[in-house]
Structure formats: structure tokens, C-alpha cells
């Protein structure tokens, strides 16, 4: 990795950047510190092991169905009349989102490190059902933690995970409560492997998850070069913790010619409305009370992006001015959902519709026709159908 590269990754202590403004780090209880160091060593060792990387690649292809296609959304492009829009079709992955690539990577890593039990948290339930699928495949018991509000709205993922043999622990709240409780569960069982669902939490998780998901961007480069003869001019993705978007842009971090826009839920737009703080294991932008005692933030319809904080890599990239961050409202997400269902015949999850809304309402229109915008379409919509019906079912009659 060259010096002054944004891809250098965090330092040994898990910091992106230096000094006061460094983001990330390790803010967890002592009980877990040895486990985190062990994990970091295990990770650094594994990624030097060609057999391990080959194994990951093998299952990416055969089990997940990677590479996900890079799809020219011709109808949407025509409708907007500006930039050429490509969808990175992560929703076609097994279990229906980008999450499984990360679950697969971390479970292979856990297996390599001799772990026998798994823990995970989940917001939209995508990470839970994905992790449960891989856990079943590699025969490892899993406990997932989710907030009761999310459990109610993304019920199908819960049922699937149960069928795969996973156990569920429900706590009051949404993703943030689930993360806190998952850390508690891990603290109680530090010999387990914690399969973190996004580029969040203490180091080395942001690094590991970004590594696993960076396959997305490498595929985008290869596919865009072969299909379009160039790389995209813009990459846009939704940001909850930020893993799908980190995965999509990582490959292009040192190429400023690629505009990168991450889109959070309006109600939990940590990068737009937050300040730096330290919670849930990391220093990063977040929504919190001035005294740092309380996390804040409302509810978005996108369960997976209802998160008051964000992965530290994104905070760093924001501070560097390397990536732009915006937000989208529920109304915009639902509108984008409708447009994409009707123009492209794709029933998307609500989360990536935050990014779609940014493209549709703010980015695509006034761009030239040869300007390529790539949307990270990171999840399918089955889990959200009830919510969508409730809010805009009538619009489809």
C-alpha cells in the first residue's frame, strides 16, 4: 500500500487517520480486549494465506453466487434523462443482500481460528439470516441479537434464521440496542466468535468487514471496465454502519475522479448531523446528547440504516473530504422504491433506496449521458413488503 493512500487502513490500534481527528480505535471492556487482539492477529494471518483466500473466493462464487451483476438500468436512465445508471446487484446474493459476503468471511475466519460458537447482532435481520445460513453450512451454533422493533418489521429474516438453526435474543429497541447487547453477550462468552454485521464497533471489525466487502468494488471495477470501458464517475450507496458502501468504494478510495456519495437515513444521519463521540467500541460521528450520555436519533423505515452512529472509516473519509455524505427521508425512499419497481422490475430493500433517492432526486438528472453512476443495490425487498404495503400499498392499486 502506498503512503498517503486512503486505503492504508487503520493503524495497529485501529485508528483511521492521526491525532485528535483519528477515528476508530478500541473502546471496549478488558474482557474482550484479548479476543479482539486474537481476532486481529487471526485476520492478519489469514489474509496472507492463499488457501484461505481461495476458500473465501470459492464460497463467494458457489454459495453466494458472486460476482453479482453490474446491471445497466436502462429504463430508469431513460426516465431520468441524465447520467447512465448502473445497479450493482448485491440483492441477488444468497439470502438477499451484501451481508452474506461478510458473514462468510468472518465465519471462515472463525473456523480457521478454531472457534466453535457464534454471536451476531442485526438491524434489518439481513445480517442475522445471512450469518445463520453460513453458520448452518459450517455447522456452528449461532445466537443473534435483535431489537424488538426490528424483529416485528422484518419477520421473514427471523423465521429463516430459525430454520437454519440459529437462536434469537430479542432486546427492546433497534440496531443500536442490539449491538450493545451483542457485545454484552460476547463479553459473557469471550471464547465465542462475534460476527459483526458492519464496518462498526471496535477495531479490528471495521477493517475486517471492509476487507470482506471490498470485493464489491473490485467487481465493479472489472465489470465496469469490461462493459463500459471505464470505471464509474460516481458510486452511491446507503450507509447504516456503512459496510455495503465501504465495500463498493474501497477499491476507488485513491481515485478522486470517482465521486462517492454515502446516504444515511434522514432520522439517523450521523455524518450530516452528528459530532464525534465514542460509543459502541469506536470513535466516530454519531448522534448523541451534548454530554455524551445518550445516543439519539429517530426511526427510519430502513431498518438496516436506522443507526445513530456510523463506521469510523466513513467519519475519516468525511473529514478527509474524500467522500460526500447526505441523507434521505422515508418519503424519498418509498418514492425511489416505486420508481425502481416500476421501471426496472426490481423489488429492492428500503435501505438502498436511500441511495437511489439521492441519485434519482439529486444527482442523475443534470449529468451528461456518458456520466456513469453506480448504485449499490444491496438488498432485496421481501423483508420490507409489509412495511411498504402499509405505507404506499394504495399507490400501486
Amino acid at each position: 500500500m502506498k503512503k498517503n493512500s486512503l486505503k492504508t487502513g487503520p493503524d495497529d490500534l485501529g485508528y483511521y487517520g492521526e491525532g485528535e481527528k483519528a477515528m476508530g480505535g478500541m473502546a471496549v471492556g478488558e474482557t474482550l480486549m484479548p479476543a479482539l487482539h486474537e481476532l486481529n492477529d487471526g485476520f492478519e494471518d489469514a489474509i496472507k494465506d492463499k488457501d484461505f483466500l481461495d476458500e473465501f473466493a470459492y464460497y463467494c462464487k458457489h454459495y453466494i453466487g458472486r460476482p453479482s451483476p453490474l446491471y445497466f438500468a436502462e429504463n430508469l436512465t431513460k426516465k431520468l434523462g441524465g447520467a447512465k445508471i448502473l445497479f450493482k446487484q448485491e440483492h441477488l446474493n444468497h439470502t438477499g443482500s451484501h451481508k452474506i459476503t461478510n458473514s462468510l468471511f468472518q465465519i471462515l475466519l472463525a473456523k480457521r481460528m478454531g472457534k466453535s460458537h457464534l454471536i451476531c447482532e442485526s438491524g434489518a435481520g439481513q445480517h442475522y439470516s445471512a450469518t445463520a445460513a453460513v453458520a448452518a453450512k459450517f455447522n456452528m451454533p449461532l445466537v443473534g441479537v435483535m431489537g424488538d422493533i426490528d424483529v416485528a418489521r422484518v419477520n421473514q429474516n427471523i423465521i429463516k434464521a430459525k430454520h437454519y438453526g440459529a437462536k434469537l435474543k430479542t432486546v427492546p429497541g433497534t440496531l443500536k440496542e442490539a449491538i450493545t447487547d451483542a457485545i454484552k453477550t460476547w463479553t459473557t462468552n469471550p471464547e465465542y466468535a462475534y460476527i459483526c454485521g458492519s464496518v462498526v464497533s471496535s477495531s479490528p471489525f471495521p477493517k475486517i468487514v471492509a476487507f470482506a466487502q471490498s470485493i464489491i468494488g473490485r467487481e465493479i471495477r472489472e465489470q465496469s471496465m469490461s462493459q463500459e470501458g471505464k470505471i464509474p464517475d460516481m458510486i452511491c450507496g446507503c450507509v447504516g454502519g456503512g459496510s455495503n458502501f465501504a465495500g463498493a468504494i474501497y477499491e476507488f478510495l485513491d481515485e478522486p475522479s470517482v465521486t462517492k456519495i454515502g446516504v444515511e437515513a434522514h432520522e439517523t444521519a450521523a455524518l450530516t448531523n452528528g459530532t464525534p463521540g465514542i460509543m459502541q467500541g469506536m470513535k466516530t460521528y454519531m448522534l448523541q446528547t451534548d454530554d455524551g450520555a445518550k445516543s439519539l436519533g429517530g426511526m427510519s423505515l430502513g431498518a438496516g440504516i436506522t443507526y445513530f452512529s456510523v463506521g469510523p472509516l466513513h467519519s475519516y473519509l468525511k473529514d478527509q473530504g474524500a467522500v460526500k455524505y447526505s441523507s434521505a427521508t422515508d418519503k424519498e425512499m418509498l418514492e425511489a422504491y416505486k420508481i425502481i419497481a416500476q421501471t426496472e422490475g426490481i423489488c429492492s430493500a428500503l435501505e438502498p433506496m436511500a441511495a437511489a433517492a439521492e441519485i434519482i432526486f439529486r444527482q442523475a438528472k443534470d449529468k451528461p449521458k456518458d456520466y456513469i453512476i453506480c448504485l449499490s443495490l444491496c438488498g432485496r425487498g421481501e423483508k420490507d413488503l409489509d412495511t411498504i404495503q402499509e405505507h404506499i400499498g394504495k399507490d400501486f392499486e
Binding site: I183, P190, A293
Partner: protein, 267 residues
């Protein structure tokens, strides 16, 4: 390094110190002060004064509920520092440790926090989620050192000898030995495990050791006291007592009696 803490552990009376955790301002400012006064009067050597955080990652259900109540009441870390100054006014010998998470300190920010708690009369600070790998821990430690206060470090059953060595080097006041892997107030420690852990630490350092987590009764406290540590830490058991008896108008007095049932065994 806090002189007061040093003195407490140099004294042989009581033989095993009772370190008692309270959630600051729980159930409210006034009652909390009364409760802590009773605790002091009933032989507690060190008060850990917790300040709440919504995403506290090491608290079991009992303490979490108390944290949530304080947050709901709107009491802040500033109120809790004021509480500390009242405790100090009441008693000049008891050790006072501010205990909580890095979230609030970072926003305070740290230098001002250390200066404020020093003025209030606290002796030390313990931050659950601030391992020495964290930049803010380093800043905090330096400030505390400069100010003559202690940073209480935790060690856990998962902490291996190498890491233990690093940690004891950074510790002052006493070492908080987390005696089980888990959140507060749930699992109970196994006496032999604690004993061998204590030995492991004592092979490396002379710093006083206080052992905590899962001590629910005087009997538990005695067992742990026998492992060779200098202090036992009781948190959830006292918070739970308070939680279960919120309507008792003699709550401070009765808590005092309850605490007495511990301290009298530890003398």
C-alpha cells in the same frame, strides 16, 4: 496517584475493604446522597460513583435499569460530580472513584473532567471501555497523574500474563479484578478461579487488588475475601436492593443495615 486510596489500603482496618458501587443520582440526587452516606457510615471503604451512558456495554439488567432511570430523570455527569463533592464534604476518608464509560468523558472533555472531579474530591477514575489501547485513555491517565489522582484499571479472566504486566504498570490506587467474564450482576465467580487469578496478579505486582462482579451476599464476599485480594467490590447487589425497595421510606437506613451485613464479615 491518589494519596487517599494509598492510605486506605495501607490501613489494616478493615482487613478486606468493601468497595461499593452506586449509580450516581439513582434513584434521585437526594436519595442517592443519603444512601451513600449510610454506606460510608456502615463501613464501606471506597465508593464507586457510576455515571450513566445509554449504550453501556458491561452492565447487567439491574444496573442498566438504574442507568436508564437517571438518564430519564435528566441528571447529568455534572450533577453526579456535585454529588461527589457533597459526599466528600460529608466524609474525608472514604475513597471515591468515578466509574463509567468513555462516551461522557470524551464530550466533557477529559482535561476539564479531571479538574472538576479533583475539585469535587474524587480520588480516581475507572473507565470500563477505555483500555490502554485507546488514545483517550492515555490522555485521561496523563491528566489524572498530573492531578495526583488514580486511574483504576481492570483486568479480566481473559487477560493473559503479558497483558497483565502491561496493565499493572499503568495502574495506580488499586486493580479492579473482574472475576468472571460477563456483565455486572449476573454470573457468580468461582472461588478457586479467583484465587489463582489473584495469585497470578500478585506474582507481578504489589498493587492492591479488589475483586468484583457477581458478589451477591456476605457469604460470597467472604469467599472472595479469602482469595487474598485486598478488597471486594459489590455493585448490582446493592443497586438491586435499592431497586427492590424504592417505596421504603427508610431505604437509606435499611440499605445501611444490609451493607453492614457485608462489612461486619470483612473486618
Amino acid at each position: 496517584m491518589s494519596e487517599r486510596l494509598k492510605k486506605i489500603f495501607e490501613s489494616s482496618n478493615p482487613k478486606t475493604k468493601l468497595v461499593s458501587y452506586f449509580v450516581g443520582c439513582y434513584p434521585d440526587y437526594k436519595t442517592c446522597l443519603e444512601l451513600i452516606k449510610e454506606a460510608i457510615d456502615n463501613g464501606v471503604s471506597i465508593i464507586e460513583c457510576g455515571y450513566p451512558t445509554s449504550e453501556a456495554s458491561a452492565e447487567g439488567p439491574v444496573i442498566k435499569k438504574a442507568h436508564d432511570k437517571v438518564l430519564e430523570n435528566g441528571d447529568t455527569i455534572k450533577d453526579i460530580i456535585k454529588l461527589v463533592s457533597e459526599i466528600r464534604n460529608y466524609n474525608n476518608d472514604v475513597g471515591i472513584v468515578m466509574m463509567g464509560y468513555i462516551a461522557n468523558l470524551y464530550k466533557y472533555p477529559i482535561t476539564k473532567f479531571v479538574s472538576d472531579i479533583n475539585k469535587a474530591g474524587a480520588d480516581a477514575c475507572l473507565v470500563v471501555d477505555a483500555p490502554h489501547e485507546l488514545k483517550e485513555e492515555n490522555i485521561l491517565r496523563e491528566e489524572l497523574n498530573k492531578t495526583g489522582l488514580s486511574l483504576i484499571k481492570l483486568v479480566a479472566p481473559t487477560t493473559d500474563d503479558n497483558r497483565l504486566q502491561d496493565i499493572v504498570k499503568l495502574s495506580s490506587g488499586f486493580l479492579y479484578q473482574v472475576n468472571v467474564s460477563g456483565v455486572t450482576g449476573v454470573k457468580s465467580a468461582n472461588q478457586t478461579d479467583v484465587e489463582s487469578f489473584v495469585k497470578r496478579i500478585q506474582n507481578l505486582t504489589k498493587i492492591p487488588i479488589c475483586s468484583g462482579f457477581g458478589i451477591k451476599s456476605p457469604e460470597d464476599a467472604i469467599k472472595i475475601a479469602k482469595t487474598g485480594c485486598q478488597g471486594v467490590i459489590v455493585g448490582s447487589a446493592f443497586v438491586k436492593y435499592i431497586q427492590d425497595n424504592l417505596t421504603d421510606k427508610d431505604l437509606p437506613l435499611n440499605l445501611g443495615k444490609y451493607i453492614k451485613s457485608f462489612t461486619k464479615e470483612l473486618n
